[in-house]
Each structure stands twice: as C-alpha cells, then as structure tokens.
C-alpha cells in the first residue's frame, strides 16, 4: 500500500545488550493487570528486556482479583521459582503469601503499587511511584495551569490505586469531581464523559487515569462541544502523538518499562551479586510530566512501543 500498515524493518526493543552468562533462573512477575492493558504491556516489555539480558526465564502472570493474585504468588512458590516480582496494589491480600515466599527464601521485589507496605513484608526493594503523590503532583500541575474544575475518570470502580490518584489530585486541587466508567467498553466511556461534560460546563480539565481513555476523552470533549483540555496518567504510543498534536496537554509518566526492567534486573543482581537496588529505599520511577516541551525525547522510543 502507499501508506501506513506494518513497516518492514522495525527496530526491536530498546534495551539491547549482550546476554549474561549466569546460570538460567526463573523469575515470576505477578501483577494485578487486567488482560490486554497497554500500560501493563510496557511493564512486561521492560521485564522481558531485562530477562533476556540476564538469561532469566520470565513467567508473567496477572489477575485483577486480590485473592486470585495472592494465589498466583502461592503457585509461584509451588513452582519453586528463583525470584518473585509482584505488584502490591492490594497489600492486605498479598501479605500472607508474600511473607511465605520471603520466609521460604525466595527473594521478592515489589513494583508499581504498595509503597507503604513493601518493607513490612520483608520485600527487597520497590520500583514505582506513590499513587497518592503522583495524584498530588497532577493536582499541583492543574493548579499552576490555571484550571478551574477537573473531572477525574476512574475506569474501574473501587480500584484502590486509581482512587488514590483521584484523591491525591483532589487533595491539591480541591475542585475535582469523579466519574466511574466501564473501561472495557470504549463507546460507553465516550458517552459517559460526554454526558458529564454536558452536565457541568464548568469542567475545564478531564484527568484520565490511562492513556487509551485520554484518547477517548478527546473525542468526548469534541462531542460535548466543551472547551475542556485533556490530561492523563500514563502513556502509550498513540498518546505521545496526541501530546505532540496538542490534543492532550500532558501525561504523568511513571515509566512502566523501567519498573518492569528494574524489578527483574534487581532480582538478578541480588541472586548473582547480592546487590539491592535502592539500598532498602523505594526507587521512584515517577511522577514525571510529559508535555509538548519534552515529548520529542519520548517520541522515538514510544514508536518502538517501549515508552
């Protein structure tokens, strides 16, 4: 075809390095990701890059339900893996089995969620951001942007991490309203945001909590003939383009690729050299803002699907 489509020779993953000659080890990466989520795809790609470099057999598993995720940790223990990287979005649910793994001598690191709880469980390290702090940073940014009223779009009802982001934003930017949408149904997301914008014309910022929802919110803003601007948490390839085009103002980036990469790499380092990344402190991967001013840096990596 004359345009578009799959381009023949695409550069593969960003982090290309030699392969370690350490003995092959198995690491389980257990997250609370729903299947087919773009954000978690980046985490996984980072983890896979590290696994490839470190000669690690990576076993990626996920379940959004807390009890089921805990059971996945148990099954990793059963499989006698060499290390576990786990998200602690629902720390209470995970606690018992994570501790069991630690006591069983399996090194565990946490990523993405659980910044307040990981130490107490005996986990080696933490890679991610504090959702609350990220939310507060977003709120600060809204304030400095001169926003008047923001709409925080939660794509999964009762999800602790997402709620924390909204609450954080509300803490520093009090005029924040919430709306729940069905994340697996884009047309209904679009209609719901449109209706909220029609209901409350005072809203001048839509804060979404995931990149695909930001792109949908852009359409809603158009449908509602609203003048609101769209801002978001997290990025993907299309979102970076949207920031470049000015459709989306900015995104709070927590570098998911880095979270996955560091989680696996730190376990490998611990196994082969006894190192702990962060030295017992949380390693923050965000929040950083991507906007028109710095989007060019990100753009070429985003095209590879790694940012």
């Amino acid at each position: 075809s004359s345009s578009g489509g799959k381009q023949p020779a695409q550069a593969s993953g960003a982090a290309q390095a030699g392969v370690a000659d350490t003995p092959r080890m198995t690491i389980a990466l257990i997250t609370h990701a729903p299947p087919g989520d773009t954000f978690w795809d980046l985490v996984r790609k980072g983890a896979e890059a590290a696994a490839k470099k470190d000669n690690v057999d990576l076993q990626f598993q996920s379940d959004p339900d807390g009890a089921n995720q805990a059971n996945l940790v148990q099954s990793a223990i059963d499989k006698k893996v060499d290390g576990i990287a786990v998200t602690l979005a629902k720390p209470d649910a995970m606690k018992a089995n994570v501790e069991k793994a630690v006591q069983g001598g399996i090194p565990v690191v946490a990523l993405n969620g659980g910044i307040e709880d990981w130490k107490a469980m005996g986990v080696q390290g933490y890679f991610g951001q504090d959702e609350k702090i990220a939310g507060e940073a977003a709120g600060e940014r809204l304030k400095t942007d001169g926003a008047k009223k923001a709409l925080c779009v939660i794509q999964e009802q009762g999800h602790v991490g997402l709620e924390a982001r909204c609450d954080g934003a509300k803490a520093t930017f009090p005029d924040t309203e919430k709306i729940y949408v069905t994340g697996t149904d884009m047309p209904s997301v679009q209609a719901a945001i449109t209706s909220k914008l029609q209901q409350d014309p005072a809203i001048d910022r839509v804060l979404t909590l995931g990149a695909p929802f930001a792109l949908t919110a852009v359409k809603s803003v158009k449908d509602a003939s609203s003048s609101a601007k769209v801002v978001t948490f997290d990025t993907n390839k299309d979102l970076v383009t949207a920031i470049k085009n000015g459709e989306v103002e900015w995104a709070v980036d927590q570098q998911p690729y880095l979270q996955g990469y560091l989680a696996v790499d730190s376990l490998w380092l611990y196994k082969v050299n006894g190192n702990t990344i962060g030295g017992g402190q949380a390693t923050l991967t965000g929040p950083a803002f991507i906007d028109k001013t710095n989007v060019a840096n990100v753009e070429k990596f985003a095209a590879n699907g790694t940012r």
Partner: protein, 351 residues
C-alpha cells in the same frame, strides 16, 4: 355416504358468549414492547424532572449514541434469546471483528476495505462455529459460547501481540480506504441541534428489519417455535438446526458492525475490550421483555431495553448524583423500569 343438507365448512360452533371483547387499548398494552416503552417513558420523565441537562434537546444525541452501541447487539441477542439460546461471546466477538479488520489490513498492507470484508467473514464464521459446536456437542449454548468467550479473549490478546508486539492494534488511520470506511462506520451528522452518530441509524434500521423478520416472515415464526419448544418445532417440520445456526450468524454479523464502529471511531482496538458487554446485551433484551427460557419476546422491546439502559447510565451523570452510588441508582432504575413493564402487561391481560 349420507349427505346432510348443511353445507360443509360452515362455522357450526355456537358463539362463545363468555369472551368479553378486549378493548384496543388493552390489546395494545399487552404487546411485549409496549410495557417496556412505558417503562422507558417513566425513566425519561424521572430524569427530565431531576436532571437539567437532560432537558436540553442537543444532548439527545449523546443518549442515543450510548443506547445505540448497546442496541446494535441487543437486537440479534434478543432474537437469539427468543430462539432459546444465549451468546456469551457476543461482546468479545465485536472486539475480535475490529481486531481482525485492523490486523489483516495493517499486517498485509492491504486496503482497509479488504480487512473490513474479511472481518465480516471471520465474524459470521465465529457465529456459525458457535452454532455448529452447539449441535455437535449437545451442550447448552451457555457453555458452548462461554468456551468461545474465553477462547476469543485469548485469541484477541495472543494474536494481537504476535502480529504487532503490542496489546492494541496499530493505528490504521493513514491507510488506504480508511477515510471511506470511517464515513460508513464512524461518522456523524447534524439533525437540527442534535448530532446523530451513524450507529444510531444502524440501530434503528436493524431494529426495524429484525422486527419485520420476527413478526412477518417464516423465519420469524420458526424463531419463536424453536425457542418455545424445540421438540415440537422439529416435529412439525421446522428446521431447528438451521434456524439456530442462522441466529448465531446474525449475532456474528452485528458483532462485525459493532467491531467496525469500534475500529473506525477509535482508529485502534484494545485487545482486552468487550469483556462484560455480553451481559449488558442480555440485560437489555430481558428488560425489553424477552424470556430467558426462550419462545417469547420482542426485538423492539430489546431496543427499548437498550434505550432504558443507556438513558439510565447517562441520566445519572446528567443528574450529577454522587458517583459512588452510581451502580445503586442504576440497579434501582432498572428494576423500576421492568416492574412498570410487568405491571402494565399484567393490567392489560386482566382486561
């Protein structure tokens, strides 16, 4: 043979004076769709009273759009339910369709329309596969389509990653034929103050066609029969298998329509989408008066069910009620609408 003087064929039975003739109103009210229509009106008036933006005629477009994306699938799902079967794979099948079109076109660098046509083939084939498996295994359709539901979820994710390395299809908006296809599947137009999305047109046309098929054609008669009593239908010569497989294929066709809208509205399709929607289609059909056990129901009713669902979802937003209680309001409204429906029908039958 003795031939009596009376001519044969004469209506010989005494007139049954016990039957009071029913008023036109009573007859009308006992039609399955009228009850749900009144339910819809009740919900509508309720939101008119409490939600200011609901009264703005320009916002009708948003409400209709929300209803239409449900309605396009609720119509064939209702037909299938009247025919006595479920399709739990209907939601993810739409995603599969959108992904197929996008992946085929993008991966092979073909005109988008080629992808669109091949996606249609895929979708109808999935429907036919459901029907075939139903009769091959003898399992209830709940289980068969549950299997397809899971299988398609995995396929959506697995194939997308295999072909693109990502979990969403690539943006195809710069490819040949995209603009035309977007006109057909994802455009909108102004009707006075209201912006009408093209899905609304599809929804209305589908409803009318399906209602016509159900009530005015032989196939419709067969649908009622296979759902009401498949054994009896078979005994009097209705091709039960063909009818049911045809219904599954109709669901496949509408999943394709839905999938194409998804693709050309958003340019890409997330591979995890669509899960849970199958449930909403069934809800719309049931609110509209379809029996879960089959053999009874109405396509127009199902469309009104979709409208009730869409209206309620958006109406709560318009009313600006506390979002924490969103689902509670939704539940109460749905029960309210269906209670009205049942009440109207009961009253009408009494007369």
């Amino acid at each position: 043979m003795t031939a009596t003087a009376t001519e044969p064929g004469r209506a010989g039975a005494t007139r049954d004076d016990r039957v009071a003739s029913r008023s036109l109103a009573a007859r009308l009210l006992s039609r399955p769709e009228v009850g749900s229509l009144i339910g819809a009106i009740v919900i509508f008036l309720l939101f008119m009273a409490v939600a200011v933006p609901f009264r703005n005629v320009a916002n009708v477009g948003t409400i209709l759009y929300g209803a239409s994306t449900i309605g396009i699938m609720a119509v064939p799902v209702a037909l299938l339910m009247i025919g006595g079967e479920f399709d739990l794979s209907a939601g993810v099948a739409a995603t599969t369709s959108g992904l197929s079109a996008s992946l085929i076109a993008w991966n092979l660098g073909l005109n988008v329309w080629v992808g669109v046509v091949l996606a249609l083939v895929v979708s109808v084939a999935v429907g036919a596969f459901n029907g075939w498996l139903l009769f091959k295994t003898g399992l209830p359709s709940f289980l068969v389509t549950l299997g397809t539901f899971f299988i398609l979820q995995g396929v959506n994710l697995g194939v997308t990653r295999l072909l693109t390395g990502n979990v969403a299809s690539a943006d195809i908006s710069d490819m040949d034929g995209f603009a035309g296809a977007q006109k057909v599947f994802g455009s909108e137009f102004a009707l006075g103050p209201v912006t009408v999305k093209i899905t609304v047109i599809y929804w209305i046309v589908l409803t009318l066609v399906a209602a016509h098929v159900l009530l005015r054609t032989r196939a419709g008669n067969w649908i009622f029969a296979v759902g009401g009593d498949a054994a009896a239908a078979r005994a009097v010569g209705v091709p039960v298998k063909a009818t049911k497989i045809g219904l599954f294929m109709a669901v496949g066709f509408c999943a394709w329509l839905s999938g194409m809208h998804l693709l050309f509205q958003f340019n890409t399709v997330q591979s995890g989408e669509g899960v849970g929607k199958e449930f909403i289609f069934i809800i719309a059909a049931v609110i509209g008066g379809c029996l879960l056990t089959g053999g009874y129901g109405s396509v127009v009713g199902a469309s009104i069910g979709a409208l009730i669902f869409g209206m309620t979802q958006l109406g709560i937003n318009y009313a600006g009620w506390n979002p924490d209680w969103f689902k509670t309001f939704l539940g109460v409204m749905l029960v309210l609408a269906t209670v009205v429906n049942v009440y109207v029908k009961m009253k009408a039958d009494r007369r």
